[in-house]
Symmetry: C2
DNA sequence: TGTACATCAGTGAACGCGCGTTCACTGATGTAC
DNA sequence: TGTACATCAGTGAACGCGCGTTCACTGATGTAC
């Protein structure tokens, strides 16, 4: 829900109602709303990173096709139109404006994501530093592309589609 | 101020105080806070696009070096550490969650930005469609790179610097 | 030049509302004997 | 097995606060005569 509406776009009462409870009981589980935000940030990143590390265990061609499918999905109209986005896209703009705890968890998430992406993009003849740099560039492309595509989807669907397609092309070129 | 704190991060009273007035007079100028947000969005994009179109009037080598300097600046630590960011980075995550008026102005801004960037990146032997696709990819790289670098700058400065450097490398490669 | 008046940007108190948080309580659960 | 009691997650009214917006007003400005 934070990723859908933003941290300030959803209140404790709504969150608890969605969980089938009343708002008063919230503080039996978290010391503050901020603490839940941090935990939710961790959870979102953990899931995304686990997805990648599972992919990294595959080897050779299987890993390459899995990664290509991952990029396809990430930059698909379906992903763009989903209410919930990747944590970096949904919360990246808010992260620097929030408290220390959240910012630390967000940075850790990005760090782990880059490491996992580097493992997935590793190739036999490629140096580790190169794979890492490529992972960073790929991540910037994915995040920037999806952020823009999502930001304009309601007002200019054609351009949104064009952005997804162009960035997908570029990522495929980079990953090759 | 919207770009610094987010649309919901700054109130009418604070905005008017910053303008040296009290909050009551606000509605002599705008029908609602949302209308000011839309106007501010336009203003931010107009300035950014004007910057690019001025560059596009230059020709040949001068334009190329001007563009290289632009990218250098966009992905510099100075830009990352500035309180106010590029409208796409600062507001891209919020745009899809806001009203129709704002979303339309945001989309128009992105559209114009891409056109202007395409003109700046045009090269004699290059087809217009290619220049446009390259502009889109470059924009995604710039926006994604700066968004991530800003999101983690407080908690992991080294990684933030690394992202800026890696993306800058990639953009230079693309623009060549 | 001088006077009367309309205009309208700016003032500041007040409004209703939703937020995060607190707290006295309820009532189901599990343990001790 | 049955009873008494402690625990503690969940309840819902209440709080203080800041928000966007409204409105009766003030007072400077510019125009008409």
């Amino acid at each position: 829900m934070f990723r859908e509406k933003g941290f300030d776009g959803i209140g404790v009462a709504d969150l608890m109602r969605a969980a089938g409870m009343t708002h008063g009981g919230f503080y039996n589980h978290f010391a503050s709303k901020e603490e839940l935000e941090s935990a939710a940030c961790d959870l979102a990143f953990d899931k995304a990173v686990a997805n990648l590390t599972a992919m990294a265990t595959q080897s050779g061609a299987a890993r390459r096709t899995a990664f290509a499918a991952y990029v396809d999905r990430y930059l698909s109209p379906r992903m763009r139109d989903a209410a919930v986005a990747c944590p970096m896209v949904a919360l990246g703009g808010e992260a620097p404006r929030r408290g220390t705890a959240l910012r630390r968890r967000f940075a850790a998430g990005v760090r782990h994501y880059i490491v996992a992406l580097g493992e997935v993009m590793a190739r036999p003849g490629r140096k580790a530093a190169q794979a890492r740099e490529q992972a960073i560039v790929t991540l910037a492309l994915l995040v920037g592309g999806l952020l823009l595509a999502r930001g304009i989807k309601e007002a200019d669907l054609a351009l949104s589609d064009e952005i997804l397609a162009s960035v997908q092309n570029a990522v495929s070129g980079h990953a090759r």
